[in-house]
Symmetry: C2
Subunit: 198 residues, 2 copies
Amino acid sequence: MELYAGKINKLIEELSALPGIGVKSAGRLAFYLINEPEEHVKRLADAMLDAKRNIRYCKECFTLTDQELCPICSSQKRDHKTIMVVETTRDLAAYEKTGKYEGVYHVLHGAISPLLGIGPGDIRLKELMIRLRGEVDEVIIATNSSLEGETTAMYISKLIKPTGIRCSRIASGVPVGGDLENIDEVTLLRALEGRTPL
Amino acid sequence: MELYAGKINKLIEELSALPGIGVKSAGRLAFYLINEPEEHVKRLADAMLDAKRNIRYCKECFTLTDQELCPICSSQKRDHKTIMVVETTRDLAAYEKTGKYEGVYHVLHGAISPLLGIGPGDIRLKELMIRLRGEVDEVIIATNSSLEGETTAMYISKLIKPTGIRCSRIASGVPVGGDLENIDEVTLLRALEGRTPL
């Protein structure tokens, strides 16, 4: 006999498929949701579907956004000649939180990883090279300081060299092996200030 | 400027309102969902709404179910003259997992707590007393061994005394202050076997 009613089991199963949520947390969440007012559950369900259905890539920097151009790319206040290359939208958000970076971004959506079979063609690198045909002063490579991030940084710097565009890497203030999104803002800023030419 | 597109922020906000999920986990979940196929997100959203909309109380034992009568109350194989009183549907599930209890349940949906202003009228106690007018051999009180659970157990035993129905309390194999749902099955069984008359 099943422990709970079918619909509760189904919900627990779906919730426990989420990253970082085990069966026990899923059970807790399921009963929490069942006891919440229906409009609250509806709001959460709608937010999930709405985000999933209406989020697309910014046609300039490829971050996730709900407009054709993201707020950063469409802002007149930003320096569009400085492009920071990051792996994910969440890394972009980590630098935005510092409030001090005034350039724009380019989101790769991944990093080169021969081990995982992710090559240069699997991330938004071609799109970066196309952007560099425009007026660009500097490319700041802010991929993670992991093996994949470093590999990607080296690869990009070699691609950019022939174009004559200045290319830098954020300083090693970022702890080796760490993910950008888990690092405090002061360290992120120090890494930006201490960037070195590649 | 907002860090993410409005719809992503909205989703993160909704997710971080869930118990045990902070802003960082909510961000991780949000980007996970945005990158999943739409049918997966739809399945999760539907499971949430479906559970919320179609779950009701079993008219006999008041556990959460999607039928008029829960599978346990409608089973011919169970001993309907033995009623185990638990605080929540999840405590019921904890005893069901042992696979050894053959009676039925009564779910109070809470415990008496003068501190929180929860009195006997706020839990499903009246409904238990109505059930006891039928043919019942024994009531096993399996509320948590917390202050509230013990208070509730004492209160119920005093209510039952005049009816002449046998009334027992699960043994103190359950660690003091612990929640039933976090306890291993062997301990739960030992507590059941060692129950003492009240």
